[in-house]
Symmetry: C2
Subunit: 471 residues, 2 copies
């Protein structure tokens, strides 16, 4: 008996059975990655799915009919794609935008294009009005705090990056109210505008009066600043119908490809299915969802499953208080030690550049840079597999909002990193629409999610993680 | 007596008078251009004036309070700048935008961001609704004309250039109505959009039913096309309060610097003071006006006036039927032979690139390319004077709308040519605001208008023109 025949017989119960149904062997890491990459780049499935989601379901705010249609659609698609699909309940808050009328009353009456910030209260039915106080930062408001009482504070912080800009959107109303303001206007967090207001979430704080908060355009913020700098008194009126309306049931949508060797070890590919209530949620985060779903489809279509389980999770609600990710983290608390990595795509559909690695101490939730460095070192070896699409960067940074409740407990987090030049100007606006999606770049996003999903699910040892005993 | 003393005495009546008040000499062409260029680049007057016009007067549609405030402001500024100022009556049409509610009814109800086209009729108070027929061109509508009856035609012509795009805005309603359509939607004529509709003028035609016409965003046009291509029936409703309201009196604003040698020969520096009723009309055409006004101020401030008269004309109404330019051409019909050139600035405040030369046969109004070539040859000699601001191109092309009634009668026309990459996306939108103006580029625009005004007013012989006998 020669060696080849001996090898062929190993692992089979009899020579005849081995000839009839040769057990398929998993591809090598390299071959699997090459095949998946080629399939992802050749596929137009994600493109077609995103077109359907945008054009026929449309935007998908928590609590809306659109989100529930998207939940049903996501489950149906993944079922059809051969994934083991399930729905996991999530309660989501309901907020209604209602009427929006904001006007400069003086010195020159004009209607302003605005978007009420998500979660904001409305005004009394007759509206409210007041003098505008323009500040460039929280620090400036602190210094001039005594002037703010009874006024409408405009936060006109110049764009540096999204992280800085969004702090005014999130906390502006609270900080303004602490100084006695009656409403907050926030310069839209964007580097560019064509008369385009940007909505997004805001928060109130215990013990601080709730005041309405709206996003204004870069153009109107700049105008009000110039008027005030010129010594004019600017008066604005707001009539806003925004209100909260309790909670509604929704679902995280889950689709699994069971691992061949360690089915209990799970790699999560995540995104969020909800969007703001303007535009189509094409880049935020429709693109991330179809990239994760298509990665799931391609991995499910392999002749031999990856070593570990791959689980696509379409989180129900990220934009409006993160209840999808929070519910998932809570209901899977007992499983977290088996979640070997969570990879999220949620910064558009621009050129994928690589991955942000986000390793935290599970007891404090703090970033662990030594562990991030070790994880980056472990992944470096595989990055040549993504060289064809130039998505090879690895950096220690924030990963993704939906997976953050898990990542803070020590689950290794990764975020797909994009070129975001085209993303911030359309994010949370009426312009986040399917026409902005480049099919070639979308396919590269699919390829990046698929190949990284394969690497994480197939690498011989899982990524390092905070709690060694969890292995 | 030495030669220097002899020269100093020439042209003076007595030695004592010569010492007291030496008669100032005009600078050479080169020195005058260099001084004016330096003054223009150092001045912030145009910037300050444009800021006032945008922020404190705002948009200036024909028939609006804003236009009349701008007329008074323009005259006051030029008077203060030392120009001989006058107002010339113009009747302007009045059109009121009114309410605008356009919605997709099916397959997915959504409000659309639109701007009714200027001059459009409204709908009946209860609105109107119908199925959308999407066409990519007038040719496609002709081929499929039988389908249009009772429908709402969407002209979804892809952007090539403004000239092509604007033909659908201008004529779309007429062509659609000729095929029995009940309303026209026009893709906004722009290469880029962030959910941004563009208004602009449209026309009706004798004997063709008047139907409402609105501009939709690139995003919504693309969405409706995709839905229809996917086999969906798209139904839209329109409720528009637009209506015409007779005419109103207004004025062209004129400011002159009298020529020292040929005061009867006139160089016009033109622009239009009106704007659309959204945004601030900062680039269209506030920037052109302050460039022409500042050129007038700098030329008026010269110690010795240019050889010919320079006349700044702020035309009252370009956007809405050109009544400013038409009235000017008609009331100055007898003077046209003495108007040696008309230079207009009306394509924004981007980098000035040079000048479009527009020579017409005065009997037919047709472009005369041989004459354009001769004019370009005559100007080539002076273009090194504009080399410092790189505004040295000369090409045979259209000059400007306001001066076109004169140019068609044989007046040599010039248009300041710009880099328009940043212009078309904001043109006729809420985003045409002062924040988009770059002060350095605005100063270069002032320099281009001033130096070319100087060249045209100072060159020994005026430009060649159609009717030699008119010289």
């Amino acid at each position: 008996m020669n060696t080849l025949l001996l090898l062929a017989l190993l692992g089979t119960s009899s020579p005849s059975e081995a000839r009839r149904t040769p057990k398929p062997q998993p591809p090598t890491m390299e071959q699997g990655a090459a095949d998946l990459l080629a399939d992802a780049l050749a596929s137009t499935e994600a493109w077609s799915e995103l077109r359907y989601l945008c054009d026929h379901i449309g935007h998908r705010l928590a609590g809306s009919v659109g989100l529930e249609q998207a939940v049903a659609w996501g489950a149906e698609q993944m079922e059809a794609d051969g994934l083991i699909t399930s729905l996991e309940p999530v309660q989501v808050p309901v907020w209604i935008r209602g009427e929006e009328q904001v006007e400069i009353l003086s010195p020159l009456p004009r209607r302003l294009e605005v978007l009420t910030l998500g979660g904001s209260i409305g005004t009394p039915p007759e509206g409210l009005s007041g003098e505008v106080m323009v500040v460039g930062s929280f620090d400036e408001l602190s210094e001039r705090g005594a002037e703010a009482a009874g006024k409408i504070v405009l936060f006109d912080d110049p764009w540096v990056d999204y992280g800085q800009a969004v702090s005014y959107r999130g906390r502006g109303a609270v900080v303004a109210a602490e100084h006695g303001a009656i409403a907050a206007l926030v310069r839209s967090p964007t580097p560019a505008s064509l008369g385009t207001p940007h909505t997004g979430g805001m928060r109130y704080a215990e013990g601080v009066p709730e005041i309405p908060a709206v996003a204004v355009t870069l153009e109107d913020a700049a105008w009000m600043r110039r008027l005030v700098e010129n010594g004019e008194t600017v008066r604005v009126s707001l009539k806003l119908g925004a209100h909260r309306d309790g909670e509604a049931p929704s679902h995280n949508v889950v689709g699994e490809v069971k691992g061949r060797e360690h089915p209990e070890q799970v790699v999560i590919l995540g995104c969020h299915l909800d969007s703001w209530d303007v535009g189509q949620g094409a880049q935020d985060d429709g693109a991330g969802c179809v990239a994760a779903m298509e990665a799931g489809r391609l991995l499910a279509a392999m002749q031999v499953a990856p070593r570990r389980t791959v689980r696509v999770v379409l989180f129900a609600n990220e934009e409006f208080g993160l209840s999808g990710g929070k519910a998932y983290g809570a209901s899977h608390a007992d499983e977290l030690e088996h979640i070997v990595a969570a990879l999220e795509a949620d910064t558009g559909a621009g050129q994928p550049l690589g991955f942000r690695v986000d390793m935290r101490a599970g007891d404090t939730g703090e970033r662990d840079e030594a562990l991030s460095a070790a994880t980056i070192a472990a992944l470096e070896h595989y990055m040549p597999l993504l060289e064809d699409i130039a998505a090879v960067q690895l950096e220690s940074s924030w990963s993704g909002a939906d997976i953050s409740p898990m990542v803070k407990k020590g689950v290794p987090g990764l975020g797909l990193k994009h070129d975001t030049d085209g993303y911030w100007p359309i994010h949370h606006t009426t312009a986040d629409t399917f026409d902005k999606i480049d099919p070639t770049l979308l396919a590269k996003n699919v390829a990046a999610m698929t190949v990284m999903g394969w690497i994480l699910a197939e690498m011989p040892e899982p990524l390092p993680r905070w709690n060694a005993s969890a292995e």
